[in-house]
């Protein structure tokens, strides 16, 4: 038994020293699956452009999971950058500060458009936020009362939508995209049809009223997709009357299989998303630990490389892939802020 304990101890010491012995020589990134493809392109180009640094490691897993990992603390075993498809929220920032990650730098890399598309066999679709509200709300207002959503077919809502029963594939609640969908589509639609007013009268509590506006029906018509856009694409291929929610980049790569809808009469393109005419878009971010700058080799260079016009400017590889570049003034400001070490 003594021998056994002894060998256990030796093994434990070996493990511990193995951990201490390695100094990390590459940048570690984790977070949003929406930002992942962009981060991968930059990481790969970075590895090629700076042969003295290793290619950064980019983990996926979602904005929330990435920020949680980011806020674990400062040091070699923690990641340097968290990608996020939504701004960091207050509670996350507080968790960060509590764990010693006091200086966080925010980088807004550009914009991502959210598009609505159905199988390519459908006709041209013209969608307005109120169509989605009517099709997907858990309860709609009829004669001043809230009743369970009675709509069964797209044709009852909007004749340009696919002919057949309503089916919508929307991002699951763990995705940052869902928040944007609720805020920019369901909530807008709720106001457009006047349901917001009616709900306010029925539900006095403001918070509950907003929640009612974006509550999605649970009778199987609206399907939460917890996976990636590939799953949405497969669902749409199987159900020709289904409408799915995609990122612009994913749509552009699969445009031969999909029919994209106009929203308020505007067809989603990079140009209209950048100038804000297309209503459903959101900024993409990444967050940098200031304490790791200058400690982890290549981190500063990676951020500078990422924010350069070679990567996020117009005509850059990220824009080629589907990112919508931020206006020039924003990009210049961004680089200035990072160089000045501005923290949140």
């Amino acid at each position: 038994m003594k021998k056994y304990l002894g060998s256990c101890a030796v093994a434990a010491i070996l493990l511990a020293t193995a951990g201490v012995a390695t100094a990390r020589d590459q940048v570690q990134v984790a977070g949003s699956s929406t930002v992942l493809p962009y981060a991968k392109i930059v990481a790969e180009a970075f590895g090629e452009a700076f042969p003295k640094f290793k290619t950064p490691i980019v983990e996926s897993g979602g904005s929330g999971a990435g920020l949680k990992e980011f806020c674990k603390g400062v040091g070699e075993a923690t990641i340097d950058i968290a990608n996020s498809s939504r701004p960091i929220n207050k509670s996350e920032l507080e968790a960060c500060k509590a764990a010693g990650v006091t200086d966080v730098q925010e980088i807004r890399i550009g914009y991502d458009g959210i598009v609505f598309a159905a199988a390519s066999s459908n006709g041209d679709m013209k969608i307005e936020p109120k169509d989605f509200y009517k099709a997907l709300a858990a309860e709609v207002v009829v004669d001043g009362k809230l009743v369970a959503n009675p709509y069964k077919n797209w044709s009852e809502i909007n004749p340009t939508l696919p002919k057949g029963p309503i089916a919508a594939y929307i991002p699951g609640t763990k995705h940052g995209t869902r928040e944007v969908f609720e805020e920019k589509v369901l909530s807008e639609g709720c106001k457009e049809v006047g349901a917001a007013e009616a709900i306010k009268k029925l539900v006095p509590d403001a918070k509950q009223a907003t929640a009612k506006c974006v509550a999605v029906r649970k009778d199987g018509v609206a399907v939460d997709i917890d996976g990636d856009y590939t799953e949405t694409l497969a669902r749409i291929a199987a159900n020709k009357t289904g409408v799915g929610v995609f990122g612009l980049a994913f749509y552009e790569n699969n445009a031969d299989k999909l029919k994209v809808a106009t929203v308020n009469g505007i067809k989603p393109t990079a140009a209209v998303i950048a100038d804000g005419t297309y209503p459903v878009s959101r900024p993409l971010f990444f967050y940098v630990k200031k304490a790791h700058l200058g400690v982890v080799p290549g981190l500063k260079e990676y951020v500078e490389f990422f924010t350069s016009d070679d990567m996020i400017g117009p005509d850059s590889p990220l824009v080629e892939y589907g990112l919508v570049a931020a206006p020039e003034a924003q990009r210049v400001q961004l680089r200035k802020d990072f160089a000045a070490g501005k923290t949140m």
Partner: protein, 439 residues
């Protein structure tokens, strides 16, 4: 049984009356049972075939890659205009190689590079990976600057998909990534033989890449190999030692019963739980690096241990007690009995259990997610402590990619994983055949 002829009635009538022993009914039951068995078997085989068909039919094209073979002029003008490579070796690393490739292709297609739109369309036909491809050529042999060499370059992922017929070319050109002009060039190049499909060795050796045409499972293979090695080195001795002790030495009491129940339970615990444990103990507490195959190996070891212990205990139990009795009777000690007689006889079972456990570990993604191995890793890991991915992780990551060319690569990687699993299982069968003893 009612018309039994009693012997006293004399010789039975010419028409013999057979005793009804239900033979027809029993034969029918047997036939039915066989039919059920065949039905169950064919059900399984059909689904296996469907699975294999869907994977292989989608994935076999991934082992071929569209490439463009053409004369490339390594122009001094573009690569090293100031002739400073002797003093500044960095110059050769950062030169503008994509332009070298683009100019070569434009020349082949008779397109003027001054026409910016056309030049852009031409460069989109080539992979961005040509930068590294040409750079490696030049760095290995700087003497080729100023000469013209015939080089085989990767076509872009979209050209690759179009050439393999994976993009619907009947839709309008605004709805596909490759326009009609590029399509025309593709046909022209293919007719002249410059553009053709070649064996894709890159899928086996390249690391992860955001460009489908340059992506491969190289890093994932190394990562999986390291993890299998660590699992084998740690799980086999620990598992066998634990089961020998439990089976041969430990007293049978409530406590050992409890351990047995726990081991059986652990074998059924969802693998993500081991990932959580790995994150808490190995990464956060011991401070081992994230994304390292060493940590992955440790987590998978924990996951595989119960499987190996259960298989080893079963194999030890299957050795007849007469062997032990004979050895003890001839004066061997308990230790000698076990190591000279019982363990060799149990070896085939132990090895089979180990290989099945390893194969199980090879296919796991969930525990690796939390320790950061579901990641984009482009550099080869040199030691198990360097970041890497694993084969199933690569499949998962490719399955989520937007580009069409990743669809076939996903299935291609599944084929590679299946080949490894088949190899391991064949190994298990061979080992069993080789060492098996029957009584």
């Amino acid at each position: 049984m009612t018309d039994v002829v009693s012997p006293a009635a004399g010789i039975p009538k010419a028409k013999s009356v057979r005793r009804d022993i239900g033979i027809k009914r029993r034969y029918a039951a047997e036939r039915r049972f066989r039919a059920y068995g065949i039905a169950a078997l064919s059900f399984g085989i059909i689904f296996l075939m469907l699975l294999l068909w869907s994977v292989v039919s989608k994935g076999y094209t991934a082992f071929q890659q569209t490439m463009i073979t053409m004369p490339v002029e390594f122009s001094q003008q573009i690569i090293d205009p100031q002739n400073e490579r002797a003093t500044n070796p960095q110059k050769l690393m950062t030169a503008n190689y994509p332009v070298v490739a683009r100019n070569a292709l434009a020349k082949l297609l008779n397109v003027s590079v001054d026409d910016r739109v056309a030049a852009r369309a031409v460069s989109q036909m080539l992979s961005d990976g040509v930068r590294v491809q040409l750079r490696d050529l030049v760095v290995a042999n700087p003497a080729i600057i100023g000469t013209t060499q015939t080089v085989r370059l990767l076509a872009s992922g979209d050209i690759d998909s179009a050439y393999k017929g994976q993009i619907d070319l009947n839709v309008g050109q605004e709805n596909r990534k490759i326009n009609d002009q590029q399509l025309g060039w593709m046909t022209q190049l293919s007719d002249s033989g410059a553009l053709a499909k070649h064996f894709n060795s890159g899928i086996f050796v390249n690391g992860a890449s955001s460009r489908p045409e340059a992506a491969g499972v190289g890093v994932a293979l190394i990562g999986s190999f390291y993890m299998m090695l660590i699992v084998l080195v740690l799980a086999l001795p620990i598992g066998v030692a634990a089961s020998i002790y439990l089976e041969e030495f430990a007293p049978k009491n409530k406590f050992t019963d409890l351990i047995e129940v726990n081991i059986n339970n652990l074998a059924a615990v969802p693998s993500i739980v081991y990932g959580l444990l790995g994150l808490a103990v190995f990464v956060n507490f011991m401070g081992l690096p994230r994304s390292a195959s060493f940590v992955g190996g440790l987590v998978l070891t924990l996951m595989t241990l119960p499987t190996i212990i259960i298989a080893t205990r079963a194999a030890l139990k299957a050795v007849p007690p007469s062997i032990r009795a004979a050895a003890l009777g001839l004066g061997a000690s308990k230790m000698q009995t076990i190591f000279h007689h019982v363990l060799p006889l149990a070896m085939p079972g132990i090895l089979t259990g180990t290989i099945i456990g390893l194969a199980h570990a090879l296919g796991e993604t969930a525990p690796l997610l939390l320790i950061g191995m579901v990641a984009f890793v482009a550099n080869y890991p040199t030691t198990p402590l360097d970041p890497s991915t694993a084969l199933p992780v690569q499949i998962y990551m490719w399955a989520n990619e937007a580009e069409r060319a990743f669809v076939e690569r996903t299935s291609g990687a599944i084929i590679i994983l299946l080949l490894f699993l088949i190899l391991m299982n064949v190994g298990a069968i061979l080992l069993r055949r080789r060492f098996e003893r029957r009584w």
